[in-house]
Symmetry: C2
Subunit: 333 residues, 2 copies
Amino acid sequence: MTARDVAARAGVSVTTVSRVLNDKAVDLTPATCERVRVAARELGYQVHPAASALRRGRTGTLGLVVPDIGDQYFHRIARGVEDAIRPQGFGIVFCDTDRDASLEDEAVDMLLSKGVDGIVLCGGGLDDDRHLRSRRWHNTPVVTIGPHRLDFPAISADDVGAVAALVRHLHEGGRRRILCVAGQPTWLVTKQRLVGYHTAVEELGLDDDPKLVVHAGFTAEAGEHAVRQARERGIDFDAVVAFDDYAALGALHALQALGIAVPEDVAVAGCDDIDFARFARVPLTSVRFPTYEMGRAAARLLAPPPGEREEVVAAFGFELHVRESSAPAGRRG
Amino acid sequence: MTARDVAARAGVSVTTVSRVLNDKAVDLTPATCERVRVAARELGYQVHPAASALRRGRTGTLGLVVPDIGDQYFHRIARGVEDAIRPQGFGIVFCDTDRDASLEDEAVDMLLSKGVDGIVLCGGGLDDDRHLRSRRWHNTPVVTIGPHRLDFPAISADDVGAVAALVRHLHEGGRRRILCVAGQPTWLVTKQRLVGYHTAVEELGLDDDPKLVVHAGFTAEAGEHAVRQARERGIDFDAVVAFDDYAALGALHALQALGIAVPEDVAVAGCDDIDFARFARVPLTSVRFPTYEMGRAAARLLAPPPGEREEVVAAFGFELHVRESSAPAGRRG
C-alpha cells in the first residue's frame, strides 16, 4: 500500500495525497482533502508516524506530568487537556511522579526522549523547582499548572483565596481554633495555601498557635494520622481545614472513630471538592477549582486550534461548596 | 551539539557513541557505556527521537485505551502498566472513550498514527466489539483487559464469580429480593456480571423477577436514578447489588434520601472496592479486583523486561470486602 494507490483511488496526484496527509494542504479545497482522507482510510494507508514526525518536526503528542493521575484534581485536568487537543489529533503521554523530585526529573527526560511537542507540568512545585530550573528542556514548550518557580507560561488557581475563604467560613460558624492539615512543607502548593490560612487567621484575630499547623500529605491516611497525633499531643481545636479532600475525609474518619461529633464538636473542610465529598459520612464542605477548564487552557496555550487567536484565561478562581461537615458549632451557640 | 562532541568528551569514537545511545552496545564494557551516557547527559545531547524511532522500528510508547481514567478501576490499571514499563523507558499514551464505540475507534486510529509499540485495551467490550473486530491494527500488538470478543492475548478478572459471591453474601444476611443495578446491556462487562447474578439467584432459589434487573451505568447519578425509578414503579427489594461502586454510592444516597435505612431495610453492595467505599455514609461492601496487578501483567505481555521468561498470570480472582452496608437484615431476623 503506497501513496500512489491512495492517489489513484482519490483521483488526485501523489503530491496532493502527501500534502493532505501531512496537513500542508492550505490551498486545496475541503472536498479534495476529504476525498483523500476517505481513500486513505478505505485502503488502510497511514503516513509512517516516525517519518512524519521528522518531516513535520513533531510527533503529535503532548506530555502530561502529574503527581497522581488517580487524584481527581489531576484527572480532571487530564480530561481537560485531552478534550481540548483530541480534535487536533494529539495524543497525551502521561507520567505520575508521586511528588518525588527525581521521578519528576525522569518523567521529563522520558517525555523529551519521545519528542513530545510540548509538556503540561502540574501539581509539582517540589523543593522550589530547583531540579527543573537547572535542567535542559531542548526548546520544548512547557506550560505549568499550579504554583511553580519556573519561567514558563503558567495556569494558576487562587489557592490563597480559597483557603482564606474556608477559614472565614469556619469562623462565621463560631470556630476559633482551626487545625490546619497541610501538605509537606517543601511543596509550593502547601506554601501558597498556608499564606491563605495565615492571612485569614490574622485578619480575624483567631488563635495562631503554631501547633495548629500540621504537615501531613494529600491522602486519607495522612489526614487520619494528623488528627490522631494532634489529639494525642493534647492540641485543642474546634475545626479542621485540610488542604486536600482525601486528607479531610481521613480526618473526618479519625474524629468519628475517636467519638468526636462532626460538625457539633469539630467542623471539617477540605480542598478540591472531589465527587465523593457529597457522599461522605458527613457531607464535606470544600472549595472547587475549575481544574477541567485549567487543563483546557494549558492545552490551548501549547496547541492553539488552527486559526484561533483568542486570549487564553490563565488565572482561575474557586467556588466554596458548603455542606453539613461545617455547620455552625452545635454545643457552643 | 553533535555525537562528535560527546565522543570527544567521553574519549571514544563517534560509532561507539551511536551504538551506546541506540542500545546496540552489546559487546562494549559497562564502564564505556556509562562514560558515554554521562558525557551525553552533561552536554545535553540526545538522539533525535523520531530518527531513533525509525532506526529501531519503535517509538518507545504504549497506548492505553480506557473508558475513563478518572474511574479508580482504570487508573489503578494505568498505574500498574506505568510502573511495569517505566524501567524500560516506555511512555504511555492514554485515551478516554466514555464507553462510546466511535470514540474507541478514533482512539485506536490516533494511537496507530503515533506508531505506539503496543496497545492495552481495557474496559471496553462495547457492542460485542464489532467495530474493533472489523478494523485494521497494522500488526500492532494488543493486549485486552476485561471481557472482549477479540482475538488478542487477554487479561481477565472473575466478573462472574465476584457478583455471584456478592449475591450469596446478601442471601446469607437474609435478603431475598435483590435489585441488580447493572451497566448498559450492550457492554460485555454487564453480560458477564449478569451471568454471576443469575447463576447465584437460581442456585439459591431467590426471586428471579426480571423487573429486579435495571440497566443503568457506572456513575453515582445512574445508581441514584435506578433506585428512585424502581421505587416509583413499586418494585419491592431488600438489597441492591450494583455492578460499580460509584453506582452503589448513588443508590445508597437515594435510599437514605427516601427515608429507607441501610442496612436495616435494604442492604447495598458494589463492585470494584474503590478507596472511598470505607468513607461512605454507610461503609460499603464491595468486591475488589487486583487491577494494579492486571495492568502490570498486560504491560509484561506487551513489553517483557529484558531476559525475563517467566509466565504472566492472565486470569485474576477477586476479594470480597464486607462492611456495614450489607449487615444482616435488621427488622427481619
